[in-house]
Amino acid sequence: MKDEVRRLNDEYGFNLSEAEIEQIAKQAEAARRLFQPLYEVDLTGVMPIMKIDKKERK
């Protein structure tokens, strides 16, 4: 994760300190854990939702 933060730091020019890079990497790691259960859902045949529209309702 730290490497990914460093890559973005170079690309965007955030000028982050090492302490900041570490803090952001920790937050990104926590987010990744939060998202993990999304990959455990059976999504066979499920299309991504694009818009809430009454006309699409059955």
């Binding site: 803090q23 937050q27 990104a28 991504p48 809430i52 529209d53």
Partner: protein, 493 residues
Amino acid sequence: MKERDLEGLTISGVSAQIRRGEESPVELTKLYLARIKSLNPILNAYMTLMEKQALADAKKAEDEIKGGNYRGPLQGIPFSIKDNLATKGVRTTAGSKILSEWEPDFDATVVARLKEAGAVILGKNNMHEFASGGTTINPYYGTTHNPWDIKRIPGGSSGGSAAAVAASISMASIGTDNAGSVRNPASLCGTVGLKATYGRVSRFGGVHGTGGFSTDHFGVFTKTVEDCALVLGAIAGYDPRDPLSSDEPVANYSESLGKEVKGLRVGLIKGYFDELMVGEVKGVFGKAVKLLESLGMKAEEVSIPHINLIPAVQTATSRVENAASQDHYLRTRPRDYSPNLLYRHICALMIPAATYVTAQRVRRIICQEFEDVFRRVQVIAAPTMGIPAPTIEECDRGFLEVDGKRIDFQDARGNFGTQCTIPFNVTGHPALSVCCGFSSSGLPIGMQIVGGPFQEGMVFQVAHAYERTAQWYLKKPEFSGKGMSVTEPALSP
């Protein structure tokens, strides 16, 4: 009329008097401006006052009515606007340092529609930086204080709007709600707060990056459900400038008010919300449900099997959409964000595209589960916030202790204050927060009434029946500036 009389004033009450010429929009506006000058130094609910323009608009409304040109119930009514909604020729900061000097040359559609309805815009309300938080502790424009206890936050991100309506320094306000930013402060300040169905209200003119493209909604703050119905009727409807707005016809929402609710079914979602409520909120919410039952509604438990994935779906969706909107400023002015917001955007840039798409697929499953529930019930009732307003000090330290346990405001699931509201940002359902009681320390507690897509009329019908029976709306904050210290804004208006 005197300044103190503003506390009991509603749009529905005063608009008839304005129409008959018994109340003057100019005098009303002057009273509000005087009250703002007296209370805003305590509350910091406004960041920009539009005194000259407000008086001119009030005069125009008064002259038009005298000339027989009556536009409707919002004519001559004083409003305020959250500062992430574009107002032509008036500074629109989105609570940020980056936009501290921005004066749009156009109005957001909601602002334009209010003006067409003859409303008077008093000024722009303080908010959380880029609408990215629920406290309205703003490092650049100072903290907004809760009128019920000025040591406490008003919630957010539309905290200035909620505080203004609760303190009667605005009769109604327009805010935005990406994760609960209308309903959360409405709950903590004891006002009505509505976000309608996704697409019901045009989002043209909202500052990009102050809400996800698919999760953000513009919403309404008022003192009563009846007023909320009037305002929604004026701002709702298709807008060619917002391709995601809906062309579903706008109903006459006022016609839903006063209808009997006997026999309607209210769903209570098992599990998810129970874990989020502290004991005191659970007690108050339980009594509110009993009251709905006493009106003849039938409460039944319903289940949303994938509801626990909502925090992941909301985070993966709104943070990615927000960060994408902020890309230009992240590249050119990264250090003009507060550090925590910058870190959050950087984390969002690291979310893989595949995660975003997977979240949208899970989102469809969740929406279908809600649709199944809405075949059995007309509305869902849920708490708006699991806790009453925390103190500013508790927010600064990041946690509070209640019921013998510690609640962190930020944890792995995101912002604790938004967990009760985000389900309906993910699904887009209309959701209204109405005051459902008070804590032992006198702080308001809110209940959400949620309807099926474009069923705002049903939401108003149930919320209005509850409100008129419970009558919490009659209770007003009594506050003074004694003993408080106002946070000095770094970027004064």
